[in-house]
């Protein structure tokens, strides 16, 4: 077997050194009745690299890759061009096959990268401190809710969710809250040109620990975060802003600048790729340093070595499970290290100027798509404002339309019926995302296909 270096001669020599007659002697503590008598049921014997690759390639060919179709899906995962050097760097063995940097003297590569990553995320979010990443946006969102509860010292129990929060994120929060004492106050989204900020503000009361608002929201609209922040702060609640498209922050003001206290999100759009939903990259930041000790997850900090040279270490670990055990701020252990590296490399390649250009190119193409779609008879564009994703109403079940267009190898977007299956009022809504990878030809293909289908 190509991954196992021991030879039979090695094995014999090693057993002799150990003083064991055979390998079974080393499994003596496993009771006889617990030992598997034969091979694993149905699993073939070992296979060559060529054979495994062939099997997996066959499975991969059963999927329609985004690059092979006009592609308009978003709703929390966005397709952007990732420069070739990003994948090259994350495949360097020193990054790919390193462990969590528990021995900082021989992990400065990972640690300095994490420090740079934290700094990039903090700035992008308009915050003081970002952590070294979480599993993904949805779990980061729940961790933020749990953190708000800690900040409120358990005295405030109500969590106000915007109706236009990604439904999967809301479902993760609801699931986790079943097992804590938090009371989740949600609301269904409504198809209006602007988010219902007034309705949201009206639901904040003195028992509210936090308000969770997505920016841009699940329908692509832009809520007035500064007004919501003001209302939340008046009631002593924290504003948690959720961002699922970091590229947007190259064009619009950051949640931190607008007064959000905790900013979380999905970082997948920069550097990570689609990967059918994972692994992704949870981003987590706090606007005010005073909240750092309530944060979940790993934090990398600057220090010096015994000779006074600058270096980096994991720090403030007294918040974490391996020190605090049942009193930790979270049970989280791992971060999303390699995805954080991909994000950081891509962001370094972009820089301030590249991110601004990327964002404006996304927005330009999205405006163009919205204008062309608006001219299709039977289609109306919902949004007053948007970044690179907006909602159109088709006047008929959008799920069916999406399926039919997929049959023609056009990936038309995400139907609201897929996201909110129980809400018939949303059934004719289609979320359309446009990025720099979308061509004008792709847009025309979508427009013509919809004209034909809706005629």
């Amino acid at each position: 077997m190509r991954y196992l270096p021991l030879t039979d001669a090695d094995r014999s020599a090693m057993l002799a050194k150990i003083g064991a007659p055979d390998i079974d002697a080393l499994f003596a503590d496993v009771p006889e009745e617990a030992r598997l008598s034969g091979p694993i049921h149905g699993l073939p014997m070992h296979a060559s690299e060529m054979a495994v690759e062939k099997h997996m390639r066959r499975l991969s060919k059963k999927n329609l890759a985004a690059a092979d179709a006009p592609f308009f899906l978003g709703a929390g995962a966005y397709r952007h061009h990732v420069p070739a050097s990003v994948d090259h760097i994350i495949q360097r063995g020193e990054f790919l096959t390193a462990y969590t940097p528990y021995q900082p003297e021989i992990a400065q590569g990972t640690l300095q990268m994490l420090f740079e990553f934290q700094s990039q995320v903090a700035r992008l979010y308009g915050c003081a401190v970002a952590n070294a990443s979480m599993y993904d946006g949805s779990t980061a969102c729940w961790e933020a809710v749990a953190m708000a509860s800690r900040v409120a010292r358990g005295k405030k129990r109500k969590v106000v969710l915007s109706g236009a929060l990604h439904p999967h994120y809301a479902e993760v929060v609801r699931t986790m809250a079943k097992f804590t004492d938090d009371e989740i106050a949600g609301a269904p989204p409504s198809l209006t040109a602007r988010p219902d900020d007034d309705g949201l503000i009206a639901r904040i009361d003195d028992d509210t620990s936090c308000v969770v608002v997505q920016y841009p929201d699940i329908l692509g609209r832009l809520p007035d975060l500064s007004r919501i922040a003001e209302a939340a702060h008046e009631k002593g609640a924290l504003l948690i802003a959720v961002n699922t498209e970091p590229v947007a922050l190259g064009a619009i003001q950051s949640p931190g600048e607008l007064g959000a206290d905790i900013v979380v999100g999905e970082g997948q759009a920069i550097g990570v790729g689609l990967q059918f939903g994972g692994p992704y990259l949870g981003l987590f930041a706090v606007r005010d340093e005073k909240h750092v000790r309530q944060m979940p997850g790993r934090l990398c900090g600057e220090t010096v070595d015994a000779q006074g040279k600058r270096g980096f270490v994991l720090t403030l670990s007294t918040r974490e499970q391996h020190i605090r055990r049942e009193k930790a701020t979270s049970n989280i252990c791992t971060n999303s290290g390699l995805c954080a590296l991909a994000f950081s490399v891509h962001m370094t390649l972009l820089g301030e100027e590249g991110l601004r250009r990327l964002a404006m190119e996304n927005h330009r193409l999205a405006c163009l798509a919205a204008d062309r779609l608006a001219k299709v008879p039977g289609i109306s564009v919902l949004n007053d404002s948007f970044f690179n994703e907006f909602t159109v109403q088709l006047g008929q079940d959008a799920r069916q339309v999406v399926r039919e267009l997929a049959g023609k190898d056009i990936l038309a977007g995400v139907s609201l019926g897929r996201l909110f299956p129980d809400n018939d009022a949303l059934a004719d809504g289609l979320l359309v995302a446009v990025t720099e990878t979308t061509t004008e030809e792709d847009i025309d293909t979508l427009v013509s296909a919809l004209e034909e289908l809706l005629a």
Binding site: K61, I252, A306, T315, H322, I332, G351
Partner: protein, 535 residues
Amino acid sequence: MNAPNQSGWKPGTPVEGHTAMNGPDTATGNRALMLEEPLIFEIAGNDTTGVDLPEPQGGKNRLGGLERSAPIGLPGLSEPETVRHYTRLSRQNYAIDLGLFPLGSCTMKHNPRLNEKIARMPGFADVHPLQPVDTVRGALEVANELAHWLIELTGMHGVAMSPKAGAHGELCGILCIRAALEARGDAREVILVPESAHGTNPATAAFAGYRVEDIPANGDGRVDLEALKARLGPDVAGVMITNPNTCGLFERDMKAISDAVHAAGGFVYCDGANFNAIVGKVRPGDLGVDAMHINLHKTFSTPHGGGGPGSGPVVLSEALSPYGPLPFTARTEDGVVHLVEEENADEFAHTKAFGRMTAFHGQTGMFTRALAYILSHGADGLKQVAEDAVLNANYLLRSLDDVLDAPFAHSGPCMHEALFSDKGFADDISTLDLAKALIDEGYHPMTMYFPLVVHGAMLVEPTETESKAALDQFILALRHVAERAKAGDEGMKSAPYYAPRRRLDETLAARKPLLAWADQSAPPGKPSLSEQGGR
């Protein structure tokens, strides 16, 4: 027995005409291949970018009046500068590609590159989680095929594939237990966890709303069955047991533990972090386990990536399977693999799901790698994985137990990792000192001070992907530093000497946290790049 270095070089070997000497200070602070690398914030230009994108045309936008007015302060580098920066950083890391990485309980084994190639096939890497299911049947098949083998390998009934990492999987398992108890109207408050457990176990139980109590261990480093039985009762929701445990020992009484817990109405959670020691040899389902997470990055060798991403599918017993979270995949008799979500759970008779743990379907990118690993090894290879991992660990144990104290070695063989204590070290030399001295020998240290039940613990896990020659050289290095520790070699207290950094001041880092870059010359709170001009 063997040369300290297979190149033939030995310390103190005189070479004619050459004398050893310390070099001069350099003007750059670099030392040949050891290069000092600044932060991107210190080398970036204001307008530099490594990506070619068109200059925006201006004109109207639809950003609702929220367009940025102030710069973000993000540094940018050209592509050659970027590649150089990260390549230089990478060289300051130790990694499994560079050498044996004996971090106990973390299972640092070789990461096959075929798996990287497969994960990057466009049909896996470039598909969106919300594409119509007819366009992603292959990705669903990967998840389903992996799920099938995980169930077969563990002898369990079902599996929740969506948890994002081991601790997320633990949470999933404990929430299944809680949901099952609540479904029968049985509110229980306590989860029992041995002191030797990973910190995630008590943290998870607490996060799920349980009170955590210790299970005592016996002198053999295993759960004290009688003490456990005595504690069981109507308030105990379940136990969390790691098997093989963190002392590197198989819990011989596992079946009896499960039977006792079940008889008392509780459930058995098994921390599967060490499943790599028994894969293909023992099925946890046969030992009465109700839920167990599997760290795909440990047993099935998906890369650790410098701290994630992980992946933590949870196998479930028949009693817990109905409560597993959404979404998951299901294969119908016609061979088609379906995605089961909130809207179609009824059709698949899965109406008791406790909810959803993450936005999409789990770590698909890790599923492809883990499946490729399982198929590459096959039934014979996986069994060999466990056997070689255990053989390598016992070889280390018996090659070192004369120089290091092995507290449980008297009770028999270890499993996949060997545990030592600091007993016998000179008074002022610690496990930390030994670990740092091992760095100078060219090795990443073992896991230190864990498990907590052994003083100055050193947990050594070589894994099955090390050759005998690699083990012999490591043994030589560890014997050397162990002897120095016993002799009280004061020089160890300042180790490492030859790493990119000397010992780092962790106290300072925690006392005055510097968690993001700030230009010292800029006013506080203002991103410095904006101060330097730019647009």
